[in-house]
């Protein structure tokens, strides 16, 4: 599984990355985590409100700081 956090360095984006890290360790799964801060790459995902969350190439959330449980739920979908 591959998770990408899209964000250009705003406080919410940093916070979301931390939340995702917690969710990954809680899930016990093997996950490749990547922080995407290149604005051009973010736009390739058609995301215009950061932070964005991408799981296996699919955008699952935009413009929101999720909780650990919410990220876990999205990972198990």
């Amino acid at each position: 599984m591959k998770i990408e956090v899209l964000g250009t360095g705003c406080s919410k984006c940093v916070a979301l990355e931390a939340v995702v890290k917690q969710a990954i360790s809680k899930s016990g799964k093997f996950v490749q985590l990547e922080k995407v801060d290149d604005i051009m790459k973010i736009m390739e995902y058609q995301v215009v409100s950061t932070p964005g969350l991408v799981i296996d190439g699919t955008v699952v959330s935009t413009g929101k700081l999720l909780t650990v449980d919410e990220v876990l739920a999205l990972m198990n979908k």
Binding site: T8, C10, S11, K12, C13, I39, I42, M43, Q46, V47, V48, S49, T50, V59, V60, S61, T62, G63, K64, L65, T67
Partner: protein
């Protein structure tokens, strides 16, 4: 009912009188009233908002004609949340979708101006009429301002080269159940409230002192009809106060009660929400200073004109 309870507490139980009693009464009454209103309205607005996101707005603005696009963008600004930290992806993303920059600016002006905190406070403190005037004229500034910027051919002042995409946009589809929406609205409301409750206390606190101690003719002299530059000064003072809308609005309520003209108050509140220095600093990374100055200039002039217009007719 709340008013009577506070009156009973202050005047009958604690037996406070005079200026001090009035100031404390005002402080308790207003703080809790505003807290209650903020929580209800922000919850309602953020629940509604789970149906729209910025990606949705972008897909719907694509390919619209100039003026119609401006109107639509300004209207979308009411319901979409805006955080100045997303200003860059938003701006570039709109260009990528071939949305003219004038339409993008209509959205950029309307969205922070019609933010849920400002609307909740306006509604609670000034009633629906002033709220409607604020939103109506806010939209007008956003539509006209965006339209003018669009007419000035300023695309060359966007400093980043974005390749416009071909064809229609695919919508980013994120579906949620009603329970998930309610939960999201609850989380959002809690976050916002945690950030701003202290500003409400500070704003109402200063307001209470003014309410109890400072005579009306003092305010009227500096912020009322006797001062022809009041609107201008109010707009300039409003620019650095963006994040403090929650504290500023209760203060404005007291000042209008003491003789500050409504037009001046409207201009001040619009300047607080629509002209934000942090947002300008962020946009400076991708926009030439000339474009930002034009944006601030047009919005500033629009807001000042509205202030004088209202002071004149009301």
């Amino acid at each position: 009912m709340w008013k009577e309870s506070v009156d009973y507490l202050i005047y009958d139980l604690l037996k406070l009188e005079g200026h001090l009693g009035e100031a404390i009464n005002f402080f308790i009454y207003d703080t809790f009233k505003i807290w209650f209103l903020l929580i209800t309205i922000i919850f309602a607005v953020s629940y509604l908002r789970t149906h729209f996101n910025t990606e949705y707005v972008r897909a719907h603005l694509q390919g619209k004609s100039q003026l119609y696009g401006n109107v639509l963008a300004a209207l979308f600004g009411i319901i979409t949340p805006f955080c100045s930290c997303s200003a860059i992806p938003l701006f570039l993303g709109f260009i990528q979708a071939r949305i003219p920059i004038g339409v993008t600016f209509s959205f950029l002006i309307s969205s922070p101006m019609n933010n849920e905190i400002a609307i909740a406070l306006l509604f609670g403190l000034f009633g629906w009429k002033v709220t409607a005037i604020y939103i109506g004229f806010g939209l007008l500034v956003a539509i006209v301002g965006g339209y003018i910027i669009g007419r000035l051919n300023m695309e060359k002042y966007v400093l980043m080269d974005v390749k416009p995409m071909q064809g229609e946009l695919e919508e980013v589809k994120i579906t949620l159940s009603m329970k998930e929406r309610a939960k999201e609205a609850y989380t959002y409301t809690r976050e916002i409230f945690k950030d701003i409750y202290i500003y409400v206390i500070i704003g109402v606190g200063i307001g209470a002192v003014i309410h109890g101690y400072i005579p009306a003719d003092f305010i009227a002299k500096y912020a009322g009809a006797e001062n022809p530059f009041a609107v201008l000064v109010a707009v300039i003072m409003g620019i650095p106060m963006y994040s403090n809308a929650a504290g500023v609005m209760p203060l404005v309520e007291v000042l209008t009660g003491k003789g500050m003209l409504l037009g001046t108050a409207l201009s001040f509140m619009m300047a607080v929400t629509a002209l934000s220095l942090p947002e300008a600093m962020i946009l400076k990374k991708i926009l030439h200073i000339r474009l930002i100055a034009t944006f601030f200039g047009i919005v500033g002039l629009g807001i000042i004109a509205i202030g004088y217009l209202f002071n004149f007719i009301l």
